[in-house]
Symmetry: C2
Subunit: 330 residues, 2 copies
């Protein structure tokens, strides 16, 4: 079968210049394999960093872009149990999902509830898990507690708001421009503020001075310090992204006098240390919530694999409100 994949043979500073659509013939299946037609696969910031070489773990070249997604089974090799042609499945993490088709080890495909929205389910593996774990792994939050984040209009940011609400936490959400405020309020953010020098005063006003013990930063630079200044004594700041491209800046005063702890979160690292049982528990919950429509992300635009360069360029544009998805021919 004639298929298409978005492949890169080298890395470079302009990610849309290194990736291109490459036709290929789907191979004959070995026992235990499945051929899957990809329905949808998102472009995450980490995928773009793999194209530029800025990520902490890089696949050997040539590589196919994309690290998560949803597909429908087209053909099964010998010796595959528990799956059927036509079934909707979650693709294995890190499998080069920007393609019309891919061949996978059938044991790594997770059947999804029929009727679930494939474009929403395509974003399950990376962002909701990141948001969920950052809310649970660092600070023991109780219902009523406040958590604060910047880039609240990102994929992770939107899931974090929804998950926090479901757990009874309240959120202070920081965005970088006025135009992003309404969408974050729509997703259920309790407080939404535009970043700026007097941020900690405005946060104090909005929360009535309640302690904020967890802060989540995906920007770096002085935005990290502005967030740190909003946290209670003994609080924890977790960085998971580098949107500004600048290193994190935090005053020694915050560390020494305010007993701040700064940590990082990386989902790939969690996968290395989490037990199968912990992974199943997390993804079981998230799958159910997403299939029921309780976890949703906004989608800015979709692109076929053929237009991968436009898609990657769009994913880096500053003013979008929602994810860019690569979609199959289906």
């Amino acid at each position: 079968m004639q298929a298409l994949k978005a492949q890169y043979e080298q890395r470079g500073p302009v990610p849309q210049d290194v990736i291109k659509p490459v036709p290929f013939d789907t191979p004959a299946l070995a026992p235990g394999q499945a051929l899957v037609a990809v329905l949808a696969a998102p472009i995450n910031p980490s995928d773009v960093l793999m194209l530029t070489g800025g990520y902490g773990m890089l696949p050997p070249l040539p590589a196919v872009g994309g690290s998560e997604g949803v597909g429908r089974i087209v053909e099964l090799g010998a010796d595959v149990a528990g799956l059927a042609v036509g079934q909707m499945v979650l693709l294995p993490a890190g499998s080069g999902t920007w393609a019309t088709h891919l061949v996978a080890d059938a044991r790594r495909l997770v059947p999804l509830p029929e009727g679930a929205d494939p474009q929403q389910m395509a974003m399950l593996t990376v962002n909701p898990a990141t948001a969920s774990l950052m809310l649970s792994e660092f600070v023991d939050l109780k219902p009523g507690d406040w958590v604060m984040q910047n880039v609240a209009n990102s994929g992770v940011g939107g899931y974090l708001i929804q998950l926090a609400r479901q757990r009874g936490f309240r959120t202070v959400n920081v965005v970088r421009r006025e135009g992003a405020v309404a969408a974050v309020q729509d997703q259920g953010g309790d407080v939404v503020l535009v970043d700026g020098d007097d941020l900690h005063h405005r946060v104090k006003q909005a929360t009535g001075g309640a302690p904020v013990r967890l802060g989540i930063d995906a920007v770096g630079g002085m935005a990290t310090e502005r967030l740190a200044r909003c946290l209670a004594e003994g609080g924890t700041l977790v960085n998971y992204g580098l949107m500004s491209g600048e290193p994190c800046v935090v005053s020694a005063q915050s560390f020494v006098f305010n007993d701040l702890t700064v940590r990082g979160f990386w989902l790939a690292k969690w996968f290395r240390v989490a037990t199968r049982e912990q992974q199943r528990a997390l993804y079981g919950q998230l799958t159910q919530a997403m299939a029921r429509g309780q976890l949703k992300a906004r989608i800015h635009a979709t692109y076929p694999v053929q237009r991968i360069q436009e898609a990657v360029a769009a994913a880096q544009a500053g003013e979008r409100d929602g994810k860019i998805l690569v979609v199959g021919q289906g």
Copy 2:
């Protein structure tokens, strides 16, 4: 009795301009009090920050400078047990020790072994405790493990080298100028390097690539990041000072991909949470080690209280090798 104290009535950016020697008459003693003639009291960076207002805890004004020291009992009020005139004692922490005499609650005076060097003992409360706790509170180090610090030629730095050796740890010591290397080697530093951009390569070479799980930073700015880059995955960086006056800079890559934790250490905070038993245990060990000459700091110069402005100016000079002490008339 005519006495002298180094007092400040306001705070300001130039610390030697706000402090001055002020004569006073020692008061009649109330029951439970002791009059102590101060033998020696150091000028610590935290003392200078109290004069400028840059510290996390500021005494009400007017205040007498100095937060630790050693004295000899001159007179005892009624109802004091267990102390004798002529005895050498450790002064209470934070008691305004830059003076020829001070009146203290006798229960807060700790008798010191006769024969111990009063100038060395004067530095017991702050720096050795800071060094000792930073070696034990954050990372569970085992004999043979490496620890790394910058400003290795500071008071805390020197104690840290000595305490690390006594516990079987090896030290990578970073200084800011070539001229400071020899003194740090003399104190027992295993590796001594001058700070610079390729620091992590030189550290790797010197340690044979052994993991460094604890890094101790008193500089801030890019020096923090240079130290962070030398640490093993999952390592901890502890900041306790702000020598550069710049906020700490640490790349998001260090947090996210290298699982770095950054914390702060403040002795005043430890005092708030440590039990009496923990405090006694720590200071018991340090007193014995210091009285035996196993914990020593270099002394750059001593000044009488009358010359407090020169002393404070000298404490801020860049190229000194050792502490500045304020000494009594004795």
